[in-house]
Symmetry: C2
């Protein structure tokens, strides 16, 4: 919870007193690795803020294969904004990749925060833009880049994550099979051994 308070104070002009009031709308939870927090098709009106650990958003295709939409390590948000905002059923699943401490943020919290602290809304708009930027980049990459290029981009962007996440997960994020990722890595290792 402290992590969340720090995060908010750092990114918004919220005060300690305001936070103490708003805190009532928050829940703090620990989840073990493997736990599923949201199932595709359910509707949800909460978002998760990760204080410690690692969450993941993913979909299942009709062959039962997982496709990772996003990872959320410490100090990231994860939630289905569609379900949250449009009151539609969730478009993806959320599961826990490492034992995690999360803060569950309800719509009430956001509404109250905006009322108490008008600039809170601005930060929210910032987050939306950020999310769009990130997704645009990803779409472009999926359209334009080879498996190897995508992997290199991934480890460049998320070097720390790369070490925490299994290759199965990384492959499902890159849109390739774990076997292909293994081959890509082998090839990169071979080429680097000449440098």
């Amino acid at each position: 919870m402290q992590a969340f308070e720090n995060y908010l104070k750092h990114h918004t002009p919220i005060t300690g007193e305001q936070f103490t009031v708003l805190k009532q709308e928050l829940k703090e939870k620990n989840y073990p690795k493997g736990r599923i927090l949201l199932h595709e098709g359910e509707s949800t009106n909460v978002s998760y803020f990760v204080c410690k650990g690692l969450l993941r958003a993913y979909t299942l295709d009709n062959q039962g294969k997982e496709h990772t939409i996003q990872f959320a390590p410490e100090n990231w948000w994860l939630g289905d904004r569609n379900s949250f905002y449009f009151k539609e059923p969730a478009a993806f699943n959320i599961d826990v990749l490492e034992d995690s401490e999360v803060v569950i943020v309800s719509k009430n919290f956001l509404d109250s925060a905006m009322e108490l602290c008008p600039d809170f809304g601005k930060y929210n708009v910032y987050l939306l833009h950020n999310s769009i930027r990130y997704m645009q980049r990803r779409i472009n990459q999926l359209l334009a880049a080879s498996a190897e290029e995508r992997y290199l981009d991934f480890i460049r962007l998320y070097p720390k994550l790369t070490l925490r996440i299994s290759q199965i997960m990384i492959a499902s994020y890159l849109g390739i099979t774990p076997e292909s990722l293994s081959r890509v890595r082998k090839e990169l290792a071979r080429r680097n051994s000449y440098l």
Copy 2:
């Protein structure tokens, strides 16, 4: 311009008087097919609203191939939000696929509109969420679906656009070559002839 006024009145509580004032911040332009409105790397502080015609956002990879990020027909917005919001160089190009009438919306317009009409900001947030929903769907599809499935999804989602856009463009949106799209279509036609 009338199309834009109608659009705003339909989606926001803006009044005729307010619009008359705000209008000063807008420019109306006609562009011929083929014109390029924004180059990757430039920075921009305008967005386009399409009254008539068709615009497109696309990137170029290092082999000079085009990858279509988005189409914008009548009553759609198109602009590089990153460049606009983060003051970064544009991540994509915008060109004109059909002779078009567009309204050029500056940052000033948006700022003034939000001041004059507070709910204008809410609509903006709605648009951001919509954009996120659309991109999430696309990412998932690029990760999970075959060329054929992506094409079927495209014609289901944008039946009218399908008839206006060349297959070259559709292919570059789907992330395949025009040749592959042609084969997908042939195969679909073959299968449908048995129904």
